[in-house]
């Protein structure tokens, strides 16, 4: 199961990383772009949230650091600059590498923890650096909170921890806490691999001053000794300390991202033990003390407490309650609720649980420590109800609020089978609505909270420690819910489908297209062999229906395969930025028409050629800022990447306003490199000279730069694009810039071909190469030396014989005219003499396999409807 989740996470994370990177670049250009900062923040935040589902702590921590930084940028506490963008981009790159690693090996590399630690520390150094905080001061999320922490932000105390604290120390801590010097709970869940970067968690936690009690617990239950890895830290620490927050943070500064610090509510420190006792003296005390308390007469209350303490035996439970009460009252402004609880305790001989338990939020970051520290499962129902109590208490009477609280409380009790409590609560809600006051509900809730544990014994056992990786097996199907099938499931609006499945569907539809082509053959046979015109006609009718359906299916699947060019365009802002910085050039990259879509094969194959063109432009086209200024241009150059659809093609242009291509230089370079001879170079028009850059072995730079050169020339661009059935053209004006234009078919999955006969065999010719078919009377074919030509509408078209090109014996034909296929190949027109034209059809081209692989001149093979294999020609190679 976790593999499925991971498989979903990986593409999501990549997409989000891409969004983050392009957002960061936008932000760098325009630091006040609020949309961009929100976009980046959210993307990073989502990665962080989802990554928490997997065993990728290092990744989560690094992303968390980035998120914190972005949070400051978002709240204007930090100004974004290029150095910061660099840092964030580097971190995102690292995350990207880890995502690749997760995909390959399901795990992060061994050094991930160390890398995350280093990079996160680097990021965090920028935190808070602009609001006047001392440099080097610990800066983590907690410290940067605007307010010191609200009074109700409390920690849940692990019971074991309190038990470790001697009663006297506990009372002393309580006294201080009541006086406003908060006692803090420090929960520290070290990274399992932390030993490797020199961290000794025990030593780290010992550095925290003012320690009152320390609880150590195993994060995961110990397995057998044979399986124990002594170098994987499996311990969690919970420390109670009277040190102020800043000191704790200083001591734990290297481990802050693994540490939570929260003040402890004084109430939670109260621990009373002793012998039971009884007597009217206690009842009297309770009465007097309650009255003083209600009137706020603390001095008199203090006196009453002191008086009774002097007479009651020190080993009595009630006397100890008085000690705590005394401590609570030692504060200049005692907490009335706490004092009331302790007065009641001394008066009744028992301590009622506090109303409103802690919220289940005081958890250690990252991995949820499985120690007894704040196990939210144990008291889930209690927590839920306590939360309702607290929010009602705070909101006061609010009919809108009451409704959902009512549902929740009733459902919880229903869930637990507490029918009596439910009846009481229902009555309380009715009374509350009547009286327009939350008081009845509050007291009914408090009663429930103070009553029997809100847990079914079997439920407690049914909650084992669960490893997230195995959750699928751990979550048992719920008893009795969903008796019916989930009939009302609304279909999701979009699906993410594995590309391989689309490709398979595509191939199947392709096969269908080909199979349907058998029907006309069948119709012909019905008529010719079985002499049934009727049958032949019916087959043709059926064929028409199937043909239409197949075409619709094909069209639909093509749409599914369409991807926006944004898929590749989005890589460029980052790339151009990095290269420009490296080259010391200033470039404004503009993207247009990113929504233009084309088949995914085209889009995917376009990446490299486009990269090459852009790099070439950056490297050779764009001048350095000084040179631009000297030429009267703005120092910042512009590169425009523009996509648009033109008929059946997607056209992509790369336009720069750089120095342009100098035909004279090209001629010189081409001759020097031996690409062309001097005479040929002289004959070329300027445009033709520019086209020389696409010749193999040509590169305009004196030395091959590591950016655009890489040992290959622009000829690679041409080859790739033409393989896809596209065209490349360059236009340039010296001093003004260069535009490279790529035109590619929108889709290439199904190729339309024409079947032709030559030398007694059938061949396919891709339809997109054919300009027209003509029959040329023999007498109009002219011979110039050995070459044949004919004139078509005042243009001389060279003629070639297909059979000769294929080295096949020519069969002399006595016909008065020649069948000529006029083709457009590599920018020129050629007439191909064949024996006969046949029908056109849509085919799925399969590449040549086996012994045929090396043979030039063929684009591939396809299956004909009658089962024959048809060779499809690649005219570019053939001519």
């Amino acid at each position: 199961m976790s593999n499925l989740l991971l498989a979903r996470f990986i593409p999501e994370a990549r997409e989000l990383l891409q969004i983050s990177a392009s957002g960061l670049l936008k932000l760098e250009r325009n630091p006040s772009d609020e949309t961009a900062v929100n976009e980046v923040f959210r993307a990073v935040h989502t990665i962080k949230g989802s990554s928490g589902l997997f065993d990728a702590g290092a990744l989560t921590r690094l992303v968390h650091a980035a998120e914190d930084l972005l949070g400051e940028v978002r709240s204007d506490a930090l100004r974004i600059d290029s150095a910061l963008v660099d840092m964030l981009l580097d971190s995102l790159d690292q995350v990207g590498q880890w995502i690749d690693e997760l995909e390959r090996r399901d795990a992060l590399p061994a050094d991930a923890d160390a890398v995350a630690h280093r990079m996160a520390a680097q990021l965090r150094r920028r935190l808070g650096s602009q609001d006047g905080e001392a440099a080097g001061a610990p800066a983590d999320g907690a410290q940067r909170e605007a307010e010191p922490a609200p009074a109700d932000a409390v920690a849940t105390l692990p019971p074991a921890l309190l038990a470790r604290l001697p009663a006297s120390a506990c009372l002393a801590a309580f006294r201080r806490a009541c006086g406003g010097e908060a006692v803090h709970l420090v929960c520290y869940a070290p990274e399992p691999g932390c030993f490797f970067n020199g961290t000794d968690p025990l030593q780290a936690i010992r550095q925290v001053p003012g320690a009152l009690a320390l609880d150590i617990a195993a994060a995961e239950p110990w397995g057998t000794l044979e399986d124990l890895d002594p170098y994987q830290c499996n311990l969690h620490f919970a420390l109670l300390t009277e040190a102020p927050r800043a000191e704790i943070e200083l001591a734990m500064r290297y481990e802050l991202d693994r540490t939570t610090i929260a003040p402890v509510r004084p109430r939670d420190l109260v621990r009373i033990a002793g012998e039971p006792s009884d007597g009217p003296i206690w009842d009297d005390f309770r009465e007097t003390a309650s009255a003083f308390l209600a009137a706020g007469r603390y001095d008199e209350l203090r006196k009453a407490v002191a008086a009774l303490r002097s007479v009651a035996g020190p080993t009595l439970w009630r006397r100890q309650a008085l000690d705590w009460l005394d401590a609570a009252l030692s504060a200049p402004e005692p907490d009335p609720a706490l004092a009331a609880a302790l007065v009641a305790a001394a008066g009744s001989g028992r301590l009622d649980p506090p109303p409103g338990g802690p919220l289940p939020t005081a958890q250690a970051p990252a991995s949820q420590p499985a120690s007894q520290a704040a196990d939210p499962r144990r008291d889930l129902a209690h927590s839920v109800l306590a939360s309702q109590h607290r929010s009602l208490e705070r909101a006061g009477y609010d009919a809108e609020r009451l409704a959902s609280v009512g549902t929740v409380v009733e459902n919880v009790l229903l869930s637990l089978g507490r029918d009596a409590d439910r009846a009481a609560i229902q009555a309380a809600f009715a009374a509350a609505r009547e009286a327009r006051s939350v008081a009845p509900v509050l007291s009914a809730l408090a009663a429930v909270l103070a009553g029997a544990p809100l847990q079914r014994p079997e439920a407690a056992r049914a909650l084992p420690e669960t490893d997230l990786q195995e959750f699928a097996t751990e979550v048992a199907p719920g008893p009795a819910i969903g008796g019916k099938e989930p009939e009302a499931r609304i279909a999701a609006k979009s699906l993410k489908v594995d590309q391989a499945k689309i490709d398979l569907l595509m191939n199947l539809i392709g096969e269908l297209v080909v199979s349907k082509n058998a029907l006309p053959f069948l119709a012909k046979r019905a008529e010719e062999t079985y002499a049934s015109r009727e049958m032949s006609r019916e087959i043709k009718e059926q064929y028409a229906v199937i043909d239409r359906l197949a075409q619709e299916m094909q069209g639909t699947i093509m749409q599914v395969r369409m991807l926006p060019v944004a898929e590749i365009f989005d890589r460029f802002p980052r790339l151009v930025r990095d290269l420009a910085r490296k080259l010391g050039k200033r470039i404004d990259l503009v993207l247009e028409g990113e929504d233009t879509a084309a088949d995914k094969t085209i889009i995917e194959a376009l990446g490299d050629p486009l990269l090459h063109i852009v790099r070439n432009s950056l490297d050779h086209g764009i001048e350095a800022p000084d040179e631009r200024r000297a030429a009267g241009k703005s120092a910042t150059a512009r590169i425009l990447l523009r996509a648009r659809q033109e008929a059946d093609s997607v056209v992509i242009e790369v336009q720069d306003n750089g120095r342009g291509i100098d035909p004279a230089r090209i001629r010189g370079a081409a001759v020097a490199k031996g690409v062309v001879a001097q005479e040929e170079a002289d004959r070329l028009s300027d445009q033709e000279a520019i086209n020389l850059i696409y010749r193999p072995g040509f590169s305009t730079a004196a030395e091959i730069s590591d950016l655009s050169g890489r040992g290959v020339g622009m000829d690679v661009v041409l080859t790739t694009v033409e393989k896809l059935g596209g065209q490349v053209s360059v236009s340039s004006r010296l001093g003004e810039g260069t535009t490279t234009r790529l035109a590619l078919p929108l889709s290439m999955a199904v190729t339309r071909i024409m079947i032709v006969e030559a030398a007694g065999s059938l061949y396919g010719v891709p339809m997109d190469m054919i300009v027209e078919t003509v029959r040329v009377p023999r007498e109009r074919i002219r011979r110039i030396k050995k070459a044949e030509t004919f004139v078509l509408r005042e243009t001389i078209i060279p003629l070639l014989r297909l059979s000769r090109l294929l080295y096949l014996p020519e069969q002399p034909r006595g016909e008065a005219d020649a069948a000529v296929l006029v083709c457009q190949v590599g920018g020129r027109r050629v007439g191909l003499i064949i024996d006969n034209f046949r029908e056109g059809m849509d085919v799925i081209l399969k590449p040549l396999e086996g012994v045929l692989t090396g043979i030039d001149g063929y684009a591939g093979t396809t299956l004909l409807g009658d089962g024959r294999v048809l060779l499809v020609l690649d005219l570019r190679e053939l001519l």
Binding site: L53, A153, A362, R394, P464, L468, V475, G478
Partner: protein, 125 residues
């Protein structure tokens, strides 16, 4: 008893799949919305026993969504659980103030999530 229906409002695809899987397995009917606006639209179509709302979302964040839900008469009685990566009390307090009934820190423990859903929908634990 009919299947308890939960609306999960969460922008992360992986997280949605996680909820769908964990809660679906436990017998809940889970529907999804990818942001606050979509969440509100789906919620208004009605019939949910519980809403699980992520805090940090595009278009309309969790706080805003929860307070809108509480202003809708037809949704006032629907329990809402907010989920966030933030373990800070200030965030929890803000969610409760907006009208949430419970606050869970991400990544939610699957068992805890299922138990919470059962408790809040009145399904047997």
């Amino acid at each position: 008893m009919s299947g308890k229906r939960i609306l999960v409002v969460e922008d992360g695809i992986t997280m949605r799949m996680f909820y769908q899987d964990v809660l679906g397995r436990a017998g809940f009917v889970v529907e999804e919305a990818a942001n606050g606006v979509e969440g509100l639209e789906k919620a208004l179509l009605g019939g949910f026993d519980l809403m699980i709302v992520d805090i940090n979302m595009p278009k309309m964040d969790g706080y805003e969504l929860v307070s809108r839900i509480r202003r809708e008469p037809s949704l006032q009685a629907t329990p809402v659980v907010t989920i966030s990566t933030e373990a800070k009390d200030a965030d929890a307090t803000r969610a409760y103030e907006a009208g949430a009934n419970f606050y869970i820190v991400k990544p939610a423990d699957p068992v805890l999530l299922v138990e919470t859903a059962r408790l809040l929908t009145g399904a047997p634990v």
